[in-house]
């Protein structure tokens, strides 16, 4: 099985962040496997199951999420958020499917007249498919995920 080094994992995460920050959402979508899961829980307890999540997208729902960003009637993203993702504290572990990459992130988001900061932890489950690493699952734990949140309609 193809191994993923920490340097490769970091490069992957930086490339993913750049696609989001540059608004190349369709290219970002292509990083995901066909059976991918994109998951942002609200629960602090990891054993709580899916419960009522912030996001629990399969590939089709993730495609919706991307395509609505191109819709001028998606009011919560008119004007669109500008973002800068910063990724650090990367750990790589071998996983059954490929690799499990853990990272921390800081995200600056600016929209209308307001700049906001978000922080969280990410787990990418990556799988090597026809010459490239694909995201089989991306799980995002926002630091304040159990608190009242406001407009998270940009991509994290």
């Amino acid at each position: 099985m193809r191994q993923l080094t920490r340097q490769e994992a970091e490069e992957f995460l930086h490339r993913e962040a750049a696609l989001l920050d540059e608004g190349k959402f369709e290219d970002w979508l292509e990083l995901f496997a066909e059976d991918a899961r994109y998951w942002m829980p609200t629960a602090m307890d990891d054993d709580a199951g899916v419960g009522t999540p912030l996001v629990y997208d399969d590939r089709s729902s993730l495609e919706d999420r991307v395509s609505r960003l191109r819709n001028r009637n998606f009011h919560a993203q008119v004007p669109r958020s500008r973002t800068l993702h910063f990724t650090s504290n990367v750990f790589v572990e071998d996983a059954e499917e490929g690799a499990r990459v853990l990272s921390n992130f800081i995200l600056y988001e600016f929209r209308l007249s307001e700049q906001r900061t978000f922080a969280g932890r990410c787990e990418h489950t990556l799988r090597h498919e026809v010459g490239a690493w694909k995201i089989a699952r991306k799980k995002i734990w926002l630091l304040n995920r159990d608190q009242p949140l406001r407009n998270l309609t940009f991509l994290i």
């Binding site: 942002m40 609200t42 629960a43 709580a48 199951g49 899916v50 419960g51 009522t52 999540p53 912030l54 996001v55 629990y56 089709s60 729902s61 919706d64 999420r65 395509s67 609505r68 819709n71 009637n73 998606f74 009011h75 919560a76 159990d146 608190q147 009242p148 949140l149 406001r150 407009n151 998270l152 309609t153």
Partner: protein, 421 residues
């Protein structure tokens, strides 16, 4: 005439609401907000929690009545107490956790401790107080009135508030319809909570919950995605059999029963569910329950949506900041799979990252900004005024896109704010 000092001096509250329009000060004036806390949130019934959130003796949850922190506490006698979360010694909150189970609430500051119904149990070094020091008078303050209906717990800080059932009126029948969808006769909360916040007045949310006019426009992008998947044309509910209903005492209902939206696709285990429902309620009631599709505002702070299998609670923070907590609920005796799916689906629509709610919040924040403008003073709620019908039970009915629901809300608002009853 009730008057409050407004942003530009004295305001006559009863001049702020007219038939079919309300004044912008309802949304932007901090002194109107203060009066609302006193008259609506502390003077009437407000929803505080669902019984299933604190089902065991010793269970508690912290929340708010208006802006005042409370503890919802289940005593070993089974009763729920709504305790004001403030030590009677020097004022510190005695409970910081959101939820838990405890035998006592112990103040961190000087160790005073209270039991689950707020009685003062422990005062450290009691010899330091004189003989007239009476601990029986120093229990946590409690809401004098706590009642529940079908598991929904309401409290009032006003001892003369009257019976809950009386305040609910025909709204109780709607709650019956919603809860009777559970073959076990009750609903249960326990799959987590969605919390969102916006910079806008709390009434922007409650008037939106029962606004059948906005979806085709506010949610245009979400409906376009749904239409692409199902092949259905996104259409307005205008002219459908769906109805907007204003229920006495400020409650309001959108009733989609019989409209295209009401026909829910049945899933696995549907036959089993149908049988369970019929065996509990009989065939006729089971049919009525299954065909219904309702969403109701229980004034001032609770919203329940049958089709979305969840309820939401509004929490006013200030005149221009509001939090909302949305709870998926499980139908007791219903399909586990459906209960799980509905909890997840609530996030899909209503989370801060969801496909629906963020567009509403965008609208609320733009309203709050727009309402800063002083030269345009009024908001219009006159849609359908010429075609509304009054029913024998005091309800007023209109087309689902009519503003009959908002008119009912503001009629009640005016009555509460001005001794108008």
């Amino acid at each position: 005439m009730a008057r409050v000092m407004g942003e530009a001096g004295d305001v006559a509250v009863d001049e702020l609401v007219e038939k079919g329009r309300v004044h912008r000060r309802l949304y932007v004036d901090p002194l109107v907000f203060e009066k609302e806390m006193e008259r609506i949130y502390y003077g009437g019934w407000v929803f505080v929690c669902h019984e299933s959130e604190i089902s065991e003796p010793g269970d508690y949850k912290t929340s708010y009545i208006g802006r005042q922190p409370v503890i919802l506490s289940r005593h070993s006698n089974g009763q729920i107490y709504v305790l004001l979360n403030r030590c009677m010694h020097r004022g510190a909150q005695v409970c910081q956790e959101g939820k838990g189970n405890t035998r006592a609430f112990r103040c961190l500051y000087h160790g005073w401790a209270y039991d689950n119904k707020g009685d003062l149990l422990v005062v450290p070094f009691p010899e330091g107080y004189g003989e007239d020091f009476d601990t029986s008078k120093l229990g946590l303050r409690a809401a004098p009135c706590v009642e529940s209906y079908r598991g929904f717990v309401f409290a009032s800080l006003n001892p003369d508030v009257g019976a809950l059932r009386e305040c609910m009126g025909p709204a109780a029948d709607v709650i019956d319809l919603i809860v009777d969808a559970a073959p076990g006769g009750e609903i249960e909360v326990g799959a987590g909570v969605q919390k969102y916040v916006y910079y806008g007045n709390w009434k922007l949310q409650i008037e939106n919950w029962v606004d059948g006019y906005h979806p085709s426009f506010t949610h245009q992008s979400a409906f376009a995605l749904m239409a692409r998947k199902t092949g259905a044309k996104p259409s307005s509910q205008q002219g459908s059999v769906a109805k907007a209903v204003s229920i006495p005492n400020g409650h309001a209902l959108l009733d989609f029963t019989g409209s295209p939206r009401a026909a829910l696709p049945s899933g696995d285990g549907d036959a089993e569910y149908q049988a369970a429902l019929e065996s509990r309620y009989g065939r006729e009631r089971a049919r009525e329950v299954r065909e219904s599709d309702v969403q109701i505002l229980v004034f001032p702070n609770l919203f329940i949506q049958s089709n979305g299998q969840h309820f939401r609670v509004v929490r006013p923070i200030s005149v221009d900041k509001t939090e909302v907590h949305a709870y998926p609920y499980a139908l007791k005796g219903g399909s586990e799979e459906q209960n799980r799916r509905m909890a997840s689906r609530l996030g899909w629509w209503a989370s801060a990252a969801g496909f629906g709610q963020p567009d509403d919040l965008e609208a609320f924040e733009r309203c709050q900004e727009g309402l800063r403008i002083e030269s345009a003073e009024w908001l219009l709620f006159s849609r359908g005024l010429h075609r509304e019908q009054r029913r024998a039970d005091g309800s007023v009915v209109g087309d689902v896109t009519d503003e009959v629901t908002q008119r009912g809300i503001y009629e009640e608002w005016k009555a509460r704010m001005t001794d108008g009853r």
